[in-house]
Symmetry: C2
Subunit: 338 residues, 2 copies
C-alpha cells in the first residue's frame, strides 16, 4: 500500500480571521487592495531589518486577533516560523504575546506547515483556537542568504524576490462567528532533492517537491484537478511554475489550466523587476491571508489547493557544494464545510 | 479562567523504539553505556561538521527504525529540527528517507516539541507511527554561534558545552509489540524573556521559561511534584538548574528533591571540563533516548516529567543588543498507560 500522506479532517476547522502586511513593492503590486497594512519604510519604524520583520509578524497577529475580537490569551497556540537564522523573526515576536508557541522551520512552505498543524490539532479537539503565522523581509533575507545590500549585486534572471510581508490565519473549531472558509484536508510533504545546486534557481529545486505532494494529495483523496477552482503553489516563480506544470503533465496530472503561484500573483512581472517572481515565507502567507481567503469567503472560489513550497538549503550547505532539498505541504481549503 | 496549556492525551502513544548516538566526550561521560553509537571522530566520516551532524541524525533514525523492525515508508511522519541555520542537519538528513516531514525550530527544546506534536497527532488517530528526531554538534554549533574552533577562545564559567549527539524516538498508537513507556500529557510552552543578555549564560535565560511551563503543567493537571520520580529539564546546566529550583520554591513549587537536568546527567562535571554542563538539542535527545526511556522501560522510574528548554536567540539578535527569549515544552512520560 502506498504511504498515506493526507489526512481528511473529520472536523474541518474554520478560518475565524486573517491579516497581512507588506512593504513598498507589495504595495505597488496587483494585490495591494488585499493588504491590511502597506508601509514604504523598509525598517517599519525599527532599528534593524530583523526587528522590522519581527514587527511585521506582530502586526499580522495583532490585526488578526483584533478582527476576531480576541485577546492573545484566547489563543491556545501559535504555530509559526520564518527564514531568519534561528527563526528570530518569530521567536522575538512571540515574547510579546502570552500564548503557547510551537516554532517551525519549513522555509517558504511555513504557511502551509503552520496551517496544517493548527488545523490537525483543532480538528482533533485538542485546541479550540490557534494561529498560523509567518513572515519574510527582502532586506533581512538578502544580507543573510546572499550579499550585503549596499554591494548592489546584480541578480540573475532565474532569481526570485523575497517578499517583505507577513500573514496570519486564526483557525477555530467552528460554530459561533466563524464564516470560514474551512480546512478540509492536509497533505504532509516529503523532502525531495533532484540535485539542483544553483541557489539562484530555487523554483527549479522546489518544483519536484510540489509535484510529489500534489501527486500524494490526488492519490490519497481520489480527487482530480477539475475539483478545484485553483491549485496555488507558493513560491515556484515563473520558471519553477513552468517546470511543475510540465513535470505534472508527464506524470499524467494536467494542472495547466488550474495552476497559479503566489510568487506570480504578488507582483506584476511585466511592470515590476522581480525577475522570476516573489518568494519567502511571507509571500504565500500574504497572498493567502488577503486575496485568497477573501476570494473564498466571497464565493469567487469554492475550493482551492494551497501548496506552499520550501527550499531547505542554507548558505553553508551551498558553500559545501550541496544540492537543494525541497518540500511542499498541501491544504485543501473550501468555502463550505462540505 | 487561566489559559489551558496542557493536553491530557486520550490515547497515550507508546514508545515503540528509540536510539541515540554521541561523540568522544559523551562516550567519556557517565551515560556511555546507554548509547547505541559512540564515535571519537568528530567528522563521523563526513567532510564537514554540518554533514557530520546530519549523519548522526540519519544514524539515530535508521537505528530506531531497525530496532522497531520498520522501514522508513512505515512511518507516517518525522518531526525534527536542529540548531543549525535553516536546520540543515535535519533537512539534509530527511532527503534520504521517504517519509513526510514537519521541520521544527525550538532550539534545545526541540526534542520536547517534536515528541509533543508526534504524540498529539498519534493520540488523535491521524498518524499511526511517527518519529521525533533531533541533534546537535559541538563543532558545528561553536563556529556558527561563537568563534571558529582554531581560535581556541576561552570559555567563561557560565558557558555550557553543546553536546555532539542525536536522538530519535518512534511513537506508535500502541498495541502490538509496543512495550511503552507512554506519553500521557503534553504542555505547550510560552516564550518567556526576563531580560538576560549574556549569550554565555543560557541556563539563566531559560530557567524562567522552564518555571512557566512547569507551573502550567501542575496548574492544568492538578498533579504535584511528589507524583513523579524525576522532573528532568534539558538543558539548564548547573547555574540554570539552581535558578529554576530557587524560582520554583519562591513560586510555592518544591522540586528540589525531584529535579535533574539533562545537561548535568550527560557529563561528569567534576571530571569533564564542561563548565556549567551540556546543552544543544542533542543533549536532552540523547539522554532521553538512552538512559531515561530505558529506566522507564525497566521500571526504575514509574513516571517522569521531561521538560526540554530552548533559548530562541541568534548571534544576529545578540549583536543587536537583544535579550534571550526562552521556551520549555513539558511531557509526562509513564511506564504504564495508566
Amino acid at each position: 500500500m502506498a504511504q498515506q500522506q493526507t489526512t481528511c479532517l473529520p472536523n474541518p476547522p474554520a478560518v475565524l480571521s486573517f491579516a497581512n502586511a507588506g512593504g513598498k513593492y507589495e504595495g505597488d503590486g496587483p494585490l495591494a487592495a488585499w493588504f491590511d497594512w502597506l508601509e514604504t519604510d523598509p525598517f517599519f519604524g525599527e532599528p534593524s531589518f530583523e526587528k522590522a520583520e519581527s514587527a511585521l509578524q506582530q502586526y499580522a497577529l495583532r490585526k488578526a486577533l483584533e478582527k476576531a475580537g480576541l485577546q492573545d490569551t484566547d489563543l491556545d497556540c501559535v504555530f509559526g516560523g520564518d527564514l531568519l537564522n534561528q527563526c528570530i523573526g518569530t521567536g522575538y515576536a512571540m515574547r510579546n504575546f502570552s500564548v503557547p508557541f510551537y516554532g517551525l522551520y519549513g522555509a517558504c512552505s511555513t504557511m502551509g506547515e503552520s496551517l496544517s498543524l493548527a488545523a490537525l490539532l483543532i480538528s482533533a479537539g485538542y485546541l479550540t483556537c490557534a494561529a498560523a503565522l509567518t513572515s519574510s523581509h527582502f532586506c533581512s533575507a538578502e544580507r543573510q542568504y546572499r550579499m550585503p545590500l549596499p554591494y548592489g549585486s546584480q541578480r540573475c534572471p532565474t532569481a526570485q524576490w523575497t517578499a517583505t510581508a507577513a500573514g496570519c490565519t486564526i483557525l477555530t473549531a467552528g460554530g459561533g462567528d466563524a464564516q470560514g472558509p474551512y480546512i478540509t484536508h492536509v497533505t504532509r510533504g516529503r523532502v525531495v532533492d533532484k540535485g539542483i545546486t544553483d541557489a539562484n534557481n530555487m523554483g527549479a529545486a522546489m518544483a519536484p517537491a510540489a509535484l510529489d505532494s500534489l501527486l500524494a494529495f490526488f492519490r490519497d483523496t481520489g480527487a482530480s484537478p477539475g475539483d478545484f477552482d485553483r491549485i496555488i503553489t507558493g513560491d515556484l516563480g515563473k520558471l519553477g511554475s513552468q517546470i511543475l506544470v510540465d513535470l505534472a503533465g508527464r506524470a499524467g496530472l494536467d494542472i495547466a489550466s488550474k495552476h497559479s503561484d503566489c510568487g506570480l500573483l504578488l507582483y506584476d512581472l511585466d511592470r515590476q523587476d522581480m525577475h522570476c517572481g516573489g518568494s519567502g515565507c511571507g509571500c504565500s502567507a500574504a497572498v493567502l491571508n488577503g486575496y485568497l481567503l477573501t476570494a473564498l469567503r466571497q464565493g469567487e472560489f469554492r475550493r482551492i489547493l494551497f501548496a506552499p513550497t520550501g527550499a531547505l538549503l542554507s548558505p553553508t550547505a551551498t558553500f559545501q557544494g550541496e544540492s537543494i532539498p525541497g518540500i511542499c505541504h498541501v491544504l485543501c481549503i473550501a468555502k463550505d464545510k462540505e
